[in-house]
């Protein structure tokens, strides 16, 4: 029998790591990426929480590893549909290209919430209001700061849960990583502007991962970052190129106002694709309102997508997760795929012997 081939849809951290693991197990991989370059959301990042590890270094080393003879990378390919044929899957792209493989891993990842939907925060209206992603780009110098260079002690505010835990925009889930990401970004901002005043507006602080709580304490003690439990009502322009924010300080039981040079919206994760399952095929569609992430068959066998043998899912396409969790999930999925292929191969051999 031929060497099995696995198709991985999405070359973000999950897709890359799954591909590397499979290649190490002598399995051939077709890796598809919609964008021009692999890396997914990781390529926008400057440093990573909780250890401030350089994102570029991690990305570089990962991408170096995929230049493996077993891995074939296809960029600017948008997958539209996968179709079952006997024991194999036919993957078809927008450009009507077709690829045959023995198993499929969906690693389509997430999109960031469209902050213009929360119009009251003023994103897209006032230049001082930016998203967490734009802030990362400012950190690595790919974007200008929204305030003048003369300002030595800029005032910055971080708004948590923008497009997460919000039934109004249909995203009822917690995006998990924004809490610690805001803390990381606040620290990083303070490192660049030591005299800056930084406040975080949160609903709940969820420091669930290893080293997160410590980072939170560091932000309080070493960087004097203010944590305010309360939601913003609105951002409005104020004189001197600032934004005026109004909020409720729920712990103080008092309203609060501040003029800021920069307001960062911690945009949450939204699913990038929606799978529509037909009899023998699965269509990749744009998710509609309130359609969530891909559901695994059950939470304890989380790599298998529904009851479809040969289709696996890894990474944030299944729900918000941190980078560390995603990498581990991708590697575990690669092993599941390996086990599946081995079993399939045995079945085929038994079938060949009996006939």
């Amino acid at each position: 029998m031929q060497q099995p081939t696995v198709s991985i849809i999405g070359a973000g951290p999950a897709g890359l790591n799954a591909a590397i693991s499979l290649a190490k197990m002598e399995i051939r991989v077709n890796l598809f990426e919609k964008q021009v370059k692999p890396g997914g959301q990781l390529s926008h990042w400057h440093t990573l929480f909780p250890d401030m590890y350089d994102a570029k270094t991690l990305l570089k080393s990962t991408i170096n590893e995929i230049s493996h003879p077993h891995i074939k990378l296809y960029t600017t390919v948008n997958i539209r549909q996968i179709k079952r044929q006997n024991n194999q899957w036919i993957i078809s792209s927008d450009g009507n290209q077709e690829f045959i493989s023995d198993a499929v891993i969906i690693t389509s990842g997430f999109n960031l919430f469209d902050a213009t939907k929360k119009e009251e925060y003023g994103y897209g209206i006032y230049p001082q209001v930016i998203t967490s992603l734009e802030l990362e780009q400012m950190f690595n110098g790919r974007r200008e700061w929204p305030f003048s260079k003369d300002i030595e002690a800029p005032k910055a505010g971080f708004v948590h849960c923008v497009g997460s835990r919000d039934t109004k925009c249909g995203n009822n889930w917690c995006s998990k990583v924004c809490c610690v990401k805001a803390v990381k970004q606040a620290i990083e901002f303070k490192k660049q502007f030591p005299k800056a005043e930084v406040s975080c507006f949160y609903m709940d602080l969820r420091m669930f991962g290893k080293g997160y709580e410590e980072l939170y304490m560091k932000a309080q003690v070493d960087f004097n970052i203010q944590f305010i439990r309360g939601r913003l009502s609105e951002a409005s322009p104020s004189n001197g190129n600032k934004v005026h924010v109004k909020a409720e300080d729920t712990l103080m039981n008092r309203p609060l106002k501040q003029n800021l040079d920069m307001l960062v919206l911690m945009v949450g994760m939204t699913p990038a694709i929606w799978l529509n399952q037909h009899a023998e095929r699965i269509d990749f569609e744009k998710p509609k309102f309130k359609q969530g992430f891909i559901n695994p068959v059950e939470n304890y066998q989380s790599t298998i997508y529904q009851n479809t043998p040969g289709v696996f899912a890894a990474g944030t396409c299944k729900g918000p997760a941190s980078l560390i969790d995603v990498i581990q999930d991708a590697k575990a999925t690669a092993f599941e795929v390996f086990a599946y292929l081995k079993k399939e191969k045995q079945n085929v051999e038994i079938l060949e012997k009996t006939t």
Binding site: E120, C161, R165, D166, T167, K168, M203, D204, R229, G230, R231, L232, S233, E234, K246, A247, E248, D249, T250, N253, P255
Partner: protein
């Protein structure tokens, strides 16, 4: 043996006593507007509230008080509301605030 009082104790009125039975009318309000249970006191309702800016009334506080059975100011706080609905629009949990307020202003205490 009875306990010796040293004269230092928390005054009873300041303690939230969860052992106390909640009044029937309060349970009725929760029954008529079950979405009240969704509140997580994020404060968004208070942040947008005009009536609150003038009077200090805050819906999430009203909610908290109701959860804890602290009902003395409920009706009076609710009375300041203009029913404009900004809070309900902003609420991330989808609490039917206007209806809850309408019920609270109609409380008939025994």
């Amino acid at each position: 043996m009875s306990r010796i009082s040293f004269g230092y104790s928390v005054s009873e009125g300041k303690v939230i006593n969860l052992d106390q039975q909640k009044p029937a009318w309060l349970e009725k309000i929760f029954e008529l507007e079950p979405s009240l249970h969704r509140c997580i006191s994020c404060g968004n309702c208070a942040a947008v509230c005009t009536a609150g800016h003038f009077t200090g009334m805050k819906f999430y506080r009203i909610c908290l008080n109701a959860f804890r059975g602290q009902t003395s100011d409920l009706k009076n706080d609710a009375k300041a509301c203009m029913l404009c609905g900004k809070c309900q629009f902003a609420c991330p949990r989808g609490v039917n605030i206007r209806h809850a307020i309408m019920l609270m202003t109609q409380i008939q205490k025994p």
